[in-house]
């Protein structure tokens, strides 16, 4: 079974995402800020299959998260699901190594989940 690590600061939305993942048969672990998520990633023995990253978070934003994440040289694919997508922001995040950038309003949760499943290897 796949495991997603979701970082989303709107609690209600995080719940909705995790419920949707469950409905799709995917385990998930959710965090409302980047620091907690990083701590978990660094310390846990099991690595999640993918990281679902919101951009605007409390504390460090998505870009800062990616920089810290890259320093630790993890190889987990990162998908950004954000409320805003300017060309500049999308390019920067891609250069930092994210695999895909979704604009929240443009896709249903189901559609996003399906797209992500395509990217990660099936378990």
């Amino acid at each position: 079974m796949n495991t997603f690590l979701v970082i989303e600061d709107e609690k209600l939305l995080l719940n909705a995402i995790q419920k949707k993942l469950e409905k799709n048969g995917i385990k998930s672990v959710g965090f409302e800020n980047g620091e907690k998520a990083l701590k978990y990633i660094n310390e846990s023995e099991e690595n999640p299959d993918v990281i679902w990253l919101d951009y605007y978070l409390n504390g460090m934003n998505g870009m800062e998260f990616m920089k810290k994440f890259n320093q630790a040289k993890h190889s987990i694919p990162v998908i950004v699901v954000s409320n805003s997508a300017s060309e500049e922001k999308v390019n920067t995040m891609h250069q930092l190594g994210i695999k895909k950038y979704f604009l929240k309003a443009e896709h249903t949760l189901d559609a996003i989940i399906n797209e992500i499943k395509k990217i990660i290897p099936n378990k």
């Binding site: 209600l12 909705a16 300017s86 309003a105 249903t108």
Partner: protein, 771 residues
């Protein structure tokens, strides 16, 4: 041995020898001979001189001797004088007439001399002479010394008392003889005297020390010792002769007359011929050496110079041989500018000409061969072409027939379709026009084909105003390469006859460029009329309906308030039912009115800086109650920093309200609704998502139509009037945005719409929604 067959080198050498050496030889030989003769002559003269000089000296000396003897006094008183004078006369002896020595300087000597038997004759002769006399030369027995005496008679008182004998110091003579300073290394003075039939040498010879008074030369005819023979016989001569050794000499000889001597002495001055002509001999030697050297040099030179000719000639010979053998590759390098060089050039030139000619011939041959094969090839390919052409012609005939048939079909089709069709080219010239077009536009085909489109018809809007080019569908299709439709325009023909049309224009694309346009149009006068009538009706009816509906609403209010008296529970229930129904009708009428206003373009669009988050929050507050009723959980996620956009907030409010209320209405209890607003580069995207009943696929294409309600929700909610989405779409699109959805029955529906960040255009109208 013919000269022609000799090798060049040999010939050269011979020539050079002949030319150089032989003349030289001849000259030098004759010169040598002359020199020899001259030298001989000189030497002979020299000998003559010497002989003469020596002879005179000897004669002088003997004369002196005689003088000296004469001067010596006879008396014994002068013995001392005698002694003093004894130098050339070295000894003396006075003998009486009996030959006894009365006085002598050397008694023993004279005694032995007088006693010797062989001297008797000599002495006798001397004593008989009455004057001073020289004796013959003779040798003493003991020591073989050559002796010569001079005698002087002692006459006192005219009687001979005796004789004085003086011994001559012959050194005075021999000094003269042996003085050989001018006679080289081989020369000598020979003194001899005759003894009758032979000559005898007087003094020792250079080459025979024992010859004195011993060696005889007989007077014969042989050339040996001719000088002695002649000189002692009184002959004076000179020249080349043979001496007593048998050796050739250069000599001069003459007789010496001695006082009171019977036989003359002979004197020969001689020098070996070799020595005499030694200089010339040397000259001859060096001449011959030089000649030989020269000879050798000339021979070498001859061969060397001949090589300068033979070597190149050999090369030429080899070259010519090679050419003859067919070896054209050899190249000859002669760097000479003489006749050989010229010959070489000529031969080379000739050879090269030959080679070139041969090559030319070969080339011509191969070119000919090529030409022949080319011609053969061409011939066969021409045959092929001919065959192919025949095939093509046959195919063309078939195609032509097909095209004719096809064309006929197309024409039939075109004339049969009911819509009008005009095809134009890129320069707007009408190329095709069908019957329907003619009919709709009331124009004739013949008057239209070949003319420019907008010379035949003009395009106006619904108010009769001319439409700008960028709104003409034909031009949009042509210039923007896109298919475009418009059902709000009218075509007007030359007679000012106008017809409202629904136009679709599609570009004909070739190589990604529009080379023409096909315009299909339909006369929509009827539809327009119907539409207008419908709208007018709706408008009218709605207005007309509103009044009574309002009235009902108020009266119901009053009744429910108890303004007309207390009402029973049963009455209240019934009245509330009526109220609800009334409300629904009011809603319907409002919607109808809104739609008709939008459709008629009379709605005011008044864009203002609007914060969508605020708008949504307001709606959420308003529908909170309804959501709670169904225990529906609403999640609102938005970009906090969303910018304000220029849209009409009242209109956009209606959009959100419609979508959200729909989501609530068509979701089951306890479900979740998600509202997301995200900011993209140039637009704001809003999403309303539910987990509700969904829209069946077969109905999805009609969801935005007026009055349409899908079957599946009719079961759950009979309340809707099917106008909400129509209105929503109209507002979104007139604000410059787009709306879409995804839906799956039983899973849910998600609506997406976008609004441009640059905002919507202001529209002057005279009514707003819901007024």
């Amino acid at each position: 041995m013919k000269i022609k067959n000799l090798k060049l080198g040999t010939r050269m050498s011979i020539v050079m020898i002949l030319l150089a050496i032989i003349p030289v030889l001849i000259i030098s030989i004759s010169q040598n001979n002359k020199s020899e003769a001259a030298l001989k002559k000189t030497q002979i003269e020299k000998m003559i001189t010497i002989a003469n000089n020596k002879k005179r000296e000897i004669e002088k000396t003997f004369n002196y001797i005689i003088e000296t003897a004469n001067e010596i006094p006879l008396t014994s008183n002068n013995r001392t004088q005698i002694i003093e004078k004894l130098n050339i006369l070295s000894e003396y002896a006075i003998i009486d007439n009996q030959k006894s020595i009365t006085e002598s300087s050397n008694l023993s000597y004279f005694q032995s001399l007088l006693e010797s038997p062989k001297n008797q004759t000599i002495i006798e002769k001397l004593t008989k002479k009455n004057e001073t006399t020289l004796s013959e030369t003779f040798t003493q027995d003991q020591n073989e010394e050559i002796t010569m005496l001079v005698s002087k008679p002692v006459i006192i008182n005219e009687t001979r008392q005796g004789t004085i004998l003086f011994k001559i110091n012959l050194k005075y003579i021999t000094d003269i003889i042996y003085e050989r300073s001018d006679l080289g290394t081989t020369g000598e003075i020979v003194i001899a005297h005759s003894e009758g039939d032979h000559a005898i040498f007087t003094f020792p010879l250079r080459y025979d020390h024992n010859a004195a008074l011993k060696r005889k030369i007989y007077f014969d005819d042989s050339p040996v010792a001719r000088p002695i023979k002649e000189a002692t016989q009184g002959i004076k001569d000179s020249g080349i002769a043979i001496d007593y050794r048998g050796e050739p000499i250069i000599a001069a000889w003459e007789p010496i007359t001695l006082p009171s001597s019977k036989y003359p002495w002979g004197i020969v001055a001689k020098i070996d011929l070799n020595e005499g002509i030694a200089a010339v001999t040397d000259l001859k030697k060096s001449t011959y050496t030089l000649t030989v050297t020269f000879f050798i040099i000339i021979i070498h030179a001859g061969y060397y110079f001949s090589r300068t000719i033979t070597k190149p000639l050999e090369k030429v010979k080899d070259y010519a041989n090679n050419i003859a053998l067919g070896n054209y590759d050899e190249n000859i390098n002669i760097d000479a500018h003489d006749e050989v060089g010229e010959l070489t050039s000529s031969i080379t030139h000739m050879a090269q000409t030959l080679i070139a000619q041969k090559e030319a011939v070969t080339e011509t041959q191969s070119a000919l061969k090529k030409n022949i094969s080319t011609l053969e090839e061409r011939n066969s390919s021409l045959n092929n072409v001919k065959k192919a052409m025949i095939n093509i012609l046959e195919d063309l005939e078939t195609e032509k027939a097909k095209i004719t048939a096809s064309k006929a079909k197309d024409e039939a089709l075109l004339s049969s379709i009911g819509d009008g069709m005009i095809a134009i080219e890129s320069d707007l010239t009408i190329s095709v026009i069908n019957k329907a077009a003619e009919k709709i536009l009331k124009i004739k085909k013949e008057e239209s084909i070949g003319k420019k489109l907008f010379d035949v018809i003009t395009v106006t809007d619904e108010e009769g105003k001319s439409v700008p080019d960028n709104a003409k569908p034909a031009l949009i299709a042509l210039n923007q390469n896109i298919k475009t439709s418009n059902n709000k325009l009218l075509y007007k023909n030359k007679e000012d006859y106008t017809v409202p049309v629904s136009i679709t224009a599609a570009p004909i694309i070739s190589n990604e460029k529009a080379i023409g346009v096909i315009i299909i149009f339909r006369d929509i006068t009827k539809e327009k009329n119907i539409d207008r009538m419908k709208t007018e009706f709706i408008s009218l009816a709605s207005h007309q309906l509103r009044t009574p509906l309002s009235a009902i609403k108020w009266f119901l209010e009053m009744l429910l308030n108890g303004d007309a008296g207390k009402i029973s529970d049963e009455q209240k229930e019934m009245l509330e039912n009526v109220n609800q129904s009334n409300e629904r009708m009011i809603q319907l009428v409002n919607s109808l009115l809104n739609i008709s206003r939008i459709e008629s373009g009379r709605i005011i669009i008044d864009p203002k800086p609007t914060n969508l988050n605020t708008l949504v929050s307001e709606i959420l507050t308003e529908i909170e109650g309804r959501a709670k009723e169904k225990d529906i959980h609403i999640i609102f996620s938005s970009n906090e920093n969303i910018q304000e956009i220029m849209v009409d907030p009242k209109l956009i409010y209606e959009v959100y309200k419609n979508l959200i209320t729909n989501a609530i209405k068509y979701s089951p209890e306890k479900s979740e609704i998600t509202i997301i607003i995200s900011s993209k580069e140039n637009e704001i995207i809003s999403q309303v998502s539910d987990n509700g009943y969904g829209i069946p696929e077969k109905d999805q294409h009609r969801i935005f139509q007026k009055f349409f309600r899908a079957e599946n929700i009719l079961e759950h909610d009979t309340d809707g009037n099917g106008l909400g989405l129509y209105l929503t779409k109209a507002i979104v699109e007139s604000s410059g945005g787009k709306i879409s959805f995804e839906s799956s029955v039983g899973k849910g529906t998600t609506f997406f719409f976008s609004l441009p960040k640059k905002g919507s255009k202001k529209q002057e109208g005279n009514v707003s929604l819901n007024s």
